[in-house]
Symmetry: C2
Subunit: 200 residues, 2 copies
């Protein structure tokens, strides 16, 4: 049976991964969007199993010891990660899975699941990235500079991904992502199965 494809969407903060996803996901209801687990407390309005799977720290660390995460990391004393089991189960059922994760997490998945398709979302320019970060109005100037420096560091890693999508306009970028999934379906290592079953 056809195995599902694991798509890993990543990119620097401010590149607009979330907005691209908002355009892409509703058109792909058959794709499983993997939700991260975290040990941080839910914020107002956040729901367990919707925004995150909220976990106790002990449970998280136990699962991590048992190699139960495709990727995980600690930020500001809280743990975040992608539980492996649900993803592997969907893939084995032939269901495509999409992870939207941080760059460091994506690098971990490249090691743990190299057959994944890794997509790096980048801004069209650094000026645009800056204005998007400023536009959020939630960050101080020094935080913005730190994020821009970090974005530059992450952008240097873009060539380790399978694809790079420039997010100039989110809807167009989502269409490019869609073209990528269409092309991946047509890869001969996947489509040869169809030829064998129907034409030989």
């Amino acid at each position: 049976m056809r195995k599902g494809i694991l798509y890993v969407v990543s990119g620097p903060s401010g590149a607009g991964k979330g907005t691209v996803m908002q355009h892409f996901l509703p058109r792909h209801p058959g794709m499983f969007y993997s939700i991260s687990a975290t040990t941080r407390a839910p914020r107002v309005g956040e729901e367990d199993g919707v925004n995150y799977y909220f976990m106790e720290k002990d449970d998280f660390l136990r699962l991590r010891s048992a190699d139960g995460f495709l990727e995980c990391a600690e930020f500001c004393g809280n743990f975040y990660g992608t539980p492996k089991e649900a993803v592997m189960e969907k893939l084995s059922m032939g269901i495509d899975v999409l992870l939207e994760i941080e760059v460091q997490g994506a690098l971990q998945v490249m090691d743990s699941y190299p057959e994944g398709i890794f997509i790096f979302i980048v801004p069209p320019s650094m000026e645009e990235l800056r204005s998007r970060l400023v536009g959020r109005k939630t960050e101080e100037q020094s935080v913005i500079e730190t994020r821009l420096d970090r974005a530059k560091e992450e952008l240097r890693l873009a060539d380790r991904y399978t694809y790079i999508v420039v997010n100039d306009v989110a809807e167009r970028a989502a269409e490019e992502l869609e073209a990528i999934t269409t092309a991946e379906e047509a890869k001969s290592e996947r489509k040869f199965e169809f030829v064998k079953e129907n034409l030989l």
Copy 2:
């Protein structure tokens, strides 16, 4: 400077390469559609430089000896081939090139230009392939059987291509081909140039 991409579209006779091309090419006026050279005489209505480059046999063989073809073959005493120089010139200018050629020719290009993108067009079923060959009404029954046998042989080679596109409906297949070109543009080995020039 960005180098052009060589797309090689191939597939068994009757798979509908030509019809897919008729939907695809008008939407990609910037792509260079390479015309084959042949030593056979022009048929009524055929124009030099439009349908084929018509060549004298001596000139063809001289060019072949000078390694001047990306691929070439002999059918029924006539030679057919893709002149290398024009293709290489376009690619070096950053122009994408599309070849629509026979399966044996495509296998030769895999050797001579492995960085090409090889796309195999297949029919949705053998019944449909048969009815397309019958529908042409230009062939006798025995010729059709020979073509079907040959198609089966060629279909076994589909996994050597980069992509396999099922031509159920030519317009849909052309859209899939379009998605493939969009995805190839987004490959990180090509798009990283954009990141280096604009974001680093």
